[in-house]
């Protein structure tokens, strides 16, 4: 990937759910460029296509029509093997934390690391402890999710996404379960990683506190990007 090449370049993207007459178009000719190291917020009402766009850019769905270039690789028609390899370079933060209930906080975070290249895996426990510490969970590392609060679980999920030094992070309402300070800390951390490591973040959120911190805000309406509402 060239230094000037954007982290994500979406062009002429259309997407449908269902087949035949029952099919419903979710995205209409979406064009979007996300600069490397930036924090981009996707906004829009429910059903506007934010999540669909997020999953397409995050290699979690097959591109049906149009182009999605992620970190210099075209995702349209890419084989599953390549999509899996790409996902290993990404970080995901889900609204529902999706932690493994039988693994401790540290072990959950390690699962985000073990899938990464050997040089990153070698950091092991130390890296997991470091990220959990940054997120204020140093004293909760060996707790099972059942013994953590909703906010703590969400921070473990964030740590799992960040521990492997991802190049792009896709997040869906990552601060919804967090209090004001914790939410701001998380966004500051994401921005810091963008500045220092060039990590790109694409986030779906309705949190007005975060919108002000974003490098760019993109609004979707009925599956289309509202050009008048793109800021940054």
């Amino acid at each position: 990937m060239g230094a000037d090449e954007p982290a994500i370049a979406v062009a002429g993207l259309n997407h449908w759910f269902g087949r035949g007459e029952a099919s419903k178009q979710a995205l209409f000719d979406v064009n979007l460029v996300v600069a490397r190291g930036s924090l981009t917020v996707l906004m829009g009402p429910s059903g506007s296509g934010k999540t669909t766009l997020l999953t397409l850019m995050g290699c979690l769905r097959d591109v049906q029509q149009g182009s999605v270039r992620l970190l210099g690789h075209e995702l349209a028609a890419a084989p599953e093997r390549q999509l899996v390899a790409m996902r290993r370079r990404l970080g995901f933060i889900f609204q529902a934390h999706n932690l493994h209930e039988s693994l401790t906080a540290r072990q959950n975070v390690l699962m985000g690391l073990h899938v990464k290249p050997r040089r990153l895996r070698a950091a092991g426990d130390g890296a997991a402890a470091h990220v959990l510490g940054l997120l204020g969970l140093a004293d909760r590392m060996d707790y099972l999710p059942a013994n953590l609060s909703g906010g703590q679980k969400q921070r473990v999920a964030i740590a799992r996404a960040l521990v492997g030094d991802p190049e792009v992070v896709f997040a869906d309402e990552p601060t919804a379960a967090l209090d004001r300070d914790s939410g701001l800390n998380v966004v500051e951390l994401l921005k810091h990683l963008g500045r220092t490591r060039g990590m790109t973040t694409v986030m779906v959120t309705h949190d007005s506190r975060i919108i002000g911190l974003a490098d760019r805000v993109v609004t979707l309406e009925d599956g289309r990007i509202d050009a008048a509402a793109v800021h940054g």
Binding site: G58, L60, R88, S102, L103, L110, H114
Partner: protein
Amino acid sequence: MTRILTRLLGRLPIGWLQLTHSRGRLIAALAGVAFANVLVFVQLAILGSMSIATGRPYDFFESGLMISAADADSMTDGSNVARQWLFQALAHPQVTAGAPLFVGNVTLQHAGTTMSLTTFGVDPTQPAFLSPALRPGAELLTLPESGIIDRLTRGLDPQDAAAIGPSWPATLEVRGRTLTVYGSFEGGGGFGVDGFLVVSDQTFLKIVQNRQTGAPDHILLALAPGADADQVAQDLRGMISDRTLRIRSYAQARAEDIAYQQTRRPTGIIFGFGVIIGVLVGLVIVYQVLSTDVADHIHEYATFKAIGYRQRFLLGIVLEEALILAILGAGPGYLIARALIAGMRKATNLPLELGTSTAVAVVVGTAMACALSGALATRRLALADPADLF
């Protein structure tokens, strides 16, 4: 345990952690696997005891070849053979001796107890055809209406039976006659009889109705040292006038008898099915446990897929769980089965045993069955779609 498994697997033992996270479910799963193991162990022990009981009478004699009637599927079944075939067989240069063997089930009374004994009539002047354990008693069989009895016969007091000897004989009643036993040997009950009795051919003809000297049940043949039993059997098939006879090596006759009991007799088939049912029960239990487990953790599996783990990693977790269940379930299953088998052995006097090799084979088989169940359960993993997580 987690550390050991982490070292063994080279990753976090997620299967183990997942199983031990729900203790109640783990205990229920292990109980199910142990139950299936008990079924298989016990059925195998019964099947094995049938083989031992079937093969046991062959241990009482020594022979190179055995001539039997065409319908003699076992030592105690089938028509008689004409003694004249013995004389024809003796014409073969590699056949050094021959002896008729009479076999019949006889009901006898002793001390108010009725016993059904498989009774062998042998030629006491040819002790070479008897096993080393029976050979010393051959001379006693020349006495009129005498015999040697299986001291493990059901219905005999073990201490009294062990004391039987020339100076301390015991008497049995059979068809209004008194039979005196002057010695004992170690046999053991079977599925259809209480024990064994060895008498001379002359005594046999007196205590068993409608039998004749010229029509024994089998003919035993001794071969010259180094003789090829199969080759001699083939030669005899061409030499002896009755082409329908079964002429086999003694070892082959024993093996065919056991196979007949296991695969064509109802008892053998039933116990064989018991083993299969045990395996199926185990498969269903483990499948149920694992598929429920996969369904319960479908979001976690989808998360693993989203962050870049391949399908085979998820399969590895399910197979890890399957193998842990197999290994942990086998121990209690083995111990319970041993206790049950010991109780059954005491109650029936059958040669019920649970050998180490059988136990190991069952554990390996259980692991394979659990892996199969796990592989079936992983079909549900296809439902783990990471796109659904957002």
